[in-house]
Symmetry: C2
Subunit: 309 residues, 2 copies
C-alpha cells in the first residue's frame, strides 16, 4: 500500500464499497437457481441495510454505495441508491452480444467517474462488489476468454445450482463464446460480447482507483472478472488491486493466477456484494496501523540482536 500510494506510512482513510447491480439476459437460458427479480429485491435490501455487505461494512467502518448499473426494473429507488442504469439488463449473450460497444464504454466511464469522485471526497481505499442474478455466467465467460481455460473448468454453481442447471450454464457460455468470438486481448470487445453492466462498472472503478493511486480491493469471482477486463485495458492497473479472498467458485483461482495476485483470506465465502473485500479492508487497515502506531525497538528500549560470538 505504501508503493501504491507513494506514502511510507499509509492509512486507508474513508473506506468505500461500490456494490454494483445489473441483470443478465442469459438468465433466460435457465442458468440460475433464482429469478431475475431477485436483483431488484436485493438492491432494496442493500438500501435498507439488511444484506450481508451492510452488516460487514458496518463491522469494519466502511461505506456502501449501491449503484444500479443495469437492473431490469423501472423501480424508483430510495435516494441512497445511485442510478446510473445503462440499460435494463443485457441481452442474452448465448444468442447475441450482451451489449453494444458504446454501452460497454459507458459502463467503464461511469465506474471511473464514481471512483474518482469518491477519492476527491476522501476515500483512501475502495472495494468493488456485485449483485446480479446470472452474473457468474458472464464472469465465467470472461474468465474463459481471457485466461484461455475452458468454460467447464471455470464455471461453478453460483447461487447453488444442481447438476442439470450446471450443464445448461456451461452450454450457454460455450454458445456465447462461439456466437460472439470475443477478442481476448480487447477488454472492451470481451465486455460488450459476454460481460455485464455491473462488471463493466466495476472495471471502471478499478481503472479510476488505479489512476488516482488508491488501493482497490477485488471481492470474489465476479468482481475479479472485472479485474481481468481492467487488466486487459490497462495492465498497470493490476498494481493497485488487492485480492481480498479466494472464492469457492472454481474459476476464481484461475483469475488470480492470471493477475498474479495472492488472496488475503480463504474462508470459503461465495456471496459477492463486496463481502470478502469488507473483511480484507480490516486486515489491510491493521497492517497500516502496525506501521503507523507500533513503537520501534529503539523507542521502546528493547535490546537488539546479539552479536555472533
Amino acid at each position: 500500500m505504501a508503493g501504491m500510494t507513494g506514502i511510507s506510512r499509509p492509512s486507508l482513510g474513508t473506506k468505500v464499497v461500490f456494490t454494483m447491480a445489473a441483470d443478465h439476459g442469459v438468465t433466460t437460458e435457465g442458468v440460475s437457481a433464482y429469478p431475475s427479480e431477485v436483483t431488484r429485491q436485493m438492491v432494496l435490501n442493500f438500501a435498507t441495510g439488511g444484506a450481508a455487505i451492510n452488516v460487514l461494512a458496518r463491522h469494519v467502518g466502511a461505506e456502501v454505495r449501491v449503484v444500479d448499473m443495469g437492473v431490469a426494473s423501472d423501480e424508483s429507488w430510495p435516494s441512497c441508491v445511485v442510478n446510473r442504469k445503462v440499460a435494463a439488463g443485457t441481452r442474452n449473450m448465448a444468442k447475441d452480444r450482451a451489449m453494444t460497444v458504446e454501452e460497454a464504454r459507458s459502463c467503464l466511464e461511469i465506474g471511473a467517474e464514481l471512483a474518482t469522485q469518491a477519492v476527491q471526497n476522501g476515500a483512501g481505499a475502495i472495494a468493488v462488489g456485485d449483485m446480479g442474478i446470472g452474473n457468474t455466467t458472464a464472469a465465467s465467460a470472461i474468465t474463459s476468454v481471457i485466461t484461455g481455460r475452458t468454460p467447464a473448468e471455470v464455471t461453478g454453481r453460483g447461487t447453488g445450482i444442481d447438476d442439470s442447471r450446471l450443464k445448461l450454464k456451461i452450454s450457454a457460455i460455450e454458445k456465447a463464446i462461439e456466437t460472439n468470438s470475443p477478442d481476448a486481448s480487447d477488454g472492451i470487445d470481451t465486455l460488450s460480447k459476454v460481460g455485464g453492466f455491473e462488471i463493466g462498472g466495476m472495471a471502471g472503478v478499478l481503472l479510476g482507483a488505479a489512476s488516482s493511486r488508491v488501493p482497490v480491493f477485488l471481492d470474489g469471482f465476479v468482481s475479479s472478472s472485472a479485474g481481468l477486463i481492467a487488466a486487459t485495458i490497462c495492465p498497470l492497473s493490476v498494481d493497485f488491486m488487492i485480492a481480498s479472498h479466494l472464492s469457492a467458485e472454481p474459476g476464481h483461482k484461475y483469475i488470480l493466477e492470471h493477475l498474479r495476485l495472492v488472496p488475503l483470506l480463504d474462508l470459503n465465502m461465495r456471496l459477492g456484494e463486496g463481502t470478502g473485500a469488507a473483511l480484507a479492508f480490516s486486515v489491510a487497515e491493521a497492517a497500516c496501523k502496525i506501521v503507523a502506531e507500533m513503537a520501534t525497538f529503539d523507542s521502546a528500549g528493547v535490546s537488539g540482536v546479539r552479536g555472533e560470538d
Copy 2:
C-alpha cells in the same frame, strides 16, 4: 461458536487477550537471537501500549491483559501488569526439568482462575498470546513430545536465528527430551519437564475458558503448544479452541493437525503476543454479526429458489 456457547445467535461480548510472559533457562544454550532481558523490556512495552498486540487489540476493540507468569526480573511492574510470577524463569531443560510438578500445577491454576474471572466480568471471547525469549524452544520440545515428530521437523527460526543457532536449538531440544523423558500422555509431566511458565499459564486459560463454555482463540506456535498441553489434560477442551492463524513456524501445522483445527487466517505472521488471535477476533465477530443482523430472504422480500421445472 453457537455450539460452544449453547446460544444460537452468539456474540463475542468483551474480547480479552491474555498476553503471558516468562523467561526460559534454556536460553543459556544460545537458542535465541535476542537476550533474555528483552522479555522484561517487552512487558514494559505492552504496558505502555506500543507493541503489536496493543495496536491490533485497539484495532479490533479487544482488551489486553499482560501477565507476568515467570519473567527473570524483580522489576516492579506498572499496575496494569498482572503479577502472577511462579518463579524468575525456568531452569535449563537441556540439563534438568524446566520446573517442578508443583510449579506446573500452579501455572495451570493461575491461568484457569484468570480466565474464569474474565468470564465473570463479561468476557465472551478470550485469546492467549505469549512473550518469552526462548519460548519457541520450549514449544518445539512440547510439539515433538506430544505429536511424535522429531525436533528437527518441528523447530524453526523463532525471532530469526541463523543456521548455526538453529543447530544449537535443535540439539538443546534433543538433549532436553533425552534428559527428562517426558510422558507424552501426561500434560503436566510434559509441561514441567520441557515447558515454560507462560505456556502453562496459557494452557490454564484454555482449560478455564473451556470449562466456562467460552470460545478461546489460539494465536501462533507457542500458544498452540499450550493447546497441546490442555488437550492432553482434558481432550474436550479442544472443542472450545479456535485456531486463529497458521504461523510461519514450521511446527505449527503439526500442532493444528494433531488438534484437528483449521486456521482462519494464513498471513505469514510469526510474532506471537496474541497478534494473530486479535485479527481472528474480528473475523469471528463478523460471522456472529451475519447471523444476528442480516435480514432473512423472507424479511427482505426476496424470492426463493425456483422450482425444478
